[in-house]
Structure formats: structure tokens, C-alpha cells
């Protein structure tokens, strides 16, 4: 019997997925570990994360411009008005479960808000704040 290519592709995907899918806590650990390579005393701080999230960093937008100051509630895209589902994992269990999405959105949004890539420490702080948010 020949196995259709899409079935093979589905099996291949299923084999890869467990290594890609993750939990928010695992992302926080990974960012904090990376931050400790530069600063051995680093510990993620929800308070710092909150401040980073609310501040504008020289540009027009802050994280909160779209995600609001209460990331447990829905946001709205600052330019297009499109609804954005809550960012806090407590309110939206899909958040921070895919390495591809985490990489993509930190890359884009840090560039939009800060005009540069975020450091691992900044990502760990923001994630600590989002995990604490209800």
C-alpha cells in the first residue's frame, strides 16, 4: 500500500511539534537562562516587566498601546482597530505556547516599540509580568 504524501507530512509534523510547542513557564525559564549568560545575578522581575510594557521607548507606541495596561483583557490594534485577544496566559491559554509565534511577535513588536530587538532579560521580565497578570 502506498502512503499518501500528506499523511507522511502529518506524521513528520507530529514528530516535530512536541519540541516546538511549549508552556509560558518554559519560555520564561529559557529567556532567564539566556539573560544569566550576560548577567549571572539576573532574576526575572514582574515589576520591571510591567514598567517596560507600559513605557514608550522613544517611539510612538508602547506594548500597552495595543495590548492595554491590563493584559488579561482584550486589546485593540493601535493602527487598524482590530481586536487582539488577551496576552496574559491566565486569560488566553494559547499565548506563549509556540516557539515560532513567540519569536515572530517579539521580533516584530520590539522593533515597532523599541526600534531594536529586546534583550533576553527584557523578554523574561515581560513574561514574568504577563504570567502574574489575571
Amino acid at each position: 500500500m502506498r502512503i499518501p504524501p500528506f499523511v507522511l507530512a502529518a506524521f513528520a509534523l507530529a514528530a516535530v511539534l512536541p519540541t516546538v510547542a511549549a508552556t509560558p513557564a518554559q519560555f520564561l525559564d529559557a529567556f532567564a537562562r539566556e539573560a544569566r549568560q550576560a548577567d549571572t545575578a539576573f532574576a526575572a522581575s514582574a515589576a520591571r516587566g510591567r514598567a517596560f510594557f507600559s513605557a514608550s521607548h522613544g517611539g510612538e507606541w508602547s506594548c500597552a498601546s495595543c495590548h492595554t495596561e491590563k493584559p488579561g483583557t482584550p486589546g485593540r490594534h493601535a493602527a487598524t482597530g482590530k481586536a487582539i485577544s488577551p496576552l496574559a496566559p491566565a486569560a488566553n491559554p494559547d499565548r506563549f505556547t509556540s516557539a515560532g509565534k513567540v519569536e515572530k511577535w517579539f521580533r516584530r513588536n520590539c522593533n515597532d516599540v523599541a526600534g531594536r530587538a529586546c534583550t533576553a532579560g527584557e523578554k523574561a521580565d515581560v513574561l514574568a509580568w504577563l504570567l502574574a497578570a489575571k
Binding site: 490594534h77 493602527a79 487598524t80 482597530g81 482590530k82 515572530k104 521580533r107 516584530r108 513588536n109 522593533n111 515597532d112
Partner: protein, 165 residues
């Protein structure tokens, strides 16, 4: 009754029916046509705004849009090259055949195309755009209740706050 008059009346009815049919087809050419499905396009192009139907821009315009995703109307919408190429191929396959260029350059904004301007200029005055639930022409779903399903038919239009007077 005069048989000639009857024939004329029948002919007139046929003409009217044909005209109605032709009109409904032309309206559907843009309004009622379903958007072909492509999960990556829908997911990626639909994150920050409605995934705009491919037929609204020419292939030239889509190539220009997809070449500048890292600076996409003031935001970074960059994609991994493989995802970008896959979505561009879908857009090219389903692109509109109208020319959507101006001054020899492909337009990037659907809202600047002649077709869009003609369809919306009279029906959507500035006052409607300023309404908080509308806000922007990019917000298709504000009035086109089926936009997230790719349905832009006239009968599915619901303007928040009602039609302008």
C-alpha cells in the same frame, strides 16, 4: 389585446430581467465572490487586519507589498522567507487583473486603488469614518459583516450607527 403590444411587453420584460441578471453578476464580481482559502495567508495577513482578498490588488502590487513587510505601513510585519514566498505565490495566483499602479509604480494600499475609491467615496463619507467603531478603511469588518469570511456582498453591509443621510 393587440398581439404586437403583447410581444413588445414580453420583450421588455425579458430585457429588464436580463439587465437585472447582468447587474447582479457584475455586483458579485467584487462583492459576492468567495475568497479562495489558504490557511497561512489567512493567519498571517489576518493578524493585524482583515486578510484582504487577493483580487483587490494586482500581482505587481502584491509583490511590492510582500517585498517590504519589515516596514509594513508603519509596523514590522516581517515573515520567515519560506512563509513569505508561500503566501506571495498564493496572492499572485489569485491577484486581480486590474492594473493597480499609479505613476508607473504599483500601489501598496487597497484603499488607493481606483476601484476602492469609486466603491467607497460616495457611500462612506468622512463622518462615517470618524465613528469610533469604524475608525479606518482598513477596518473592513466594521461595515462588511462577512469580511472575516471573505464575504463583501452588498446585502451583508451593516454600517455602525446607520447609513449616512
Amino acid at each position: 389585446m393587440n398581439p404586437l403590444r403583447n410581444t413588445l411587453r414580453l420583450a421588455a420584460m425579458y430585457a429588464i430581467a436580463a439587465a437585472c441578471l447582468a447587474h447582479s453578476f457584475s455586483a458579485h464580481a467584487d462583492g459576492g465572490k468567495r475568497v479562495p482559502d489558504h490557511p497561512a495567508w489567512k493567519q498571517e495577513c489576518g493578524s493585524c487586519h482583515v486578510a484582504y482578498p487577493p483580487r483587490l490588488l494586482s500581482a505587481d502590487s502584491w509583490r511590492a507589498v510582500m517585498a517590504g513587510l519589515d516596514r509594513h505601513f508603519g509596523a514590522d510585519a516581517s515573515l520567515e522567507p519560506a512563509a513569505r514566498d508561500d503566501i506571495l505565490a498564493f496572492l499572485e495566483r489569485n491577484a486581480g487583473r486590474r492594473d493597480t499602479s499609479a505613476g508607473g509604480r504599483p500601489l501598496l494600499r487597497v484603499t488607493q486603488t481606483r476601484w476602492f475609491v469609486k466603491e467607497h467615496r460616495d457611500e462612506v463619507p468622512a463622518e462615517v469614518l470618524r465613528r469610533p467603531d469604524v475608525k479606518s478603511f482598513a477596518n473592513c469588518g466594521a461595515c462588511h459583516s462577512g469580511a472575516d469570511r471573505g464575504v463583501y456582498a452588498e446585502r451583508d453591509i451593516r454600517i455602525p450607527g446607520g447609513r449616512p443621510r
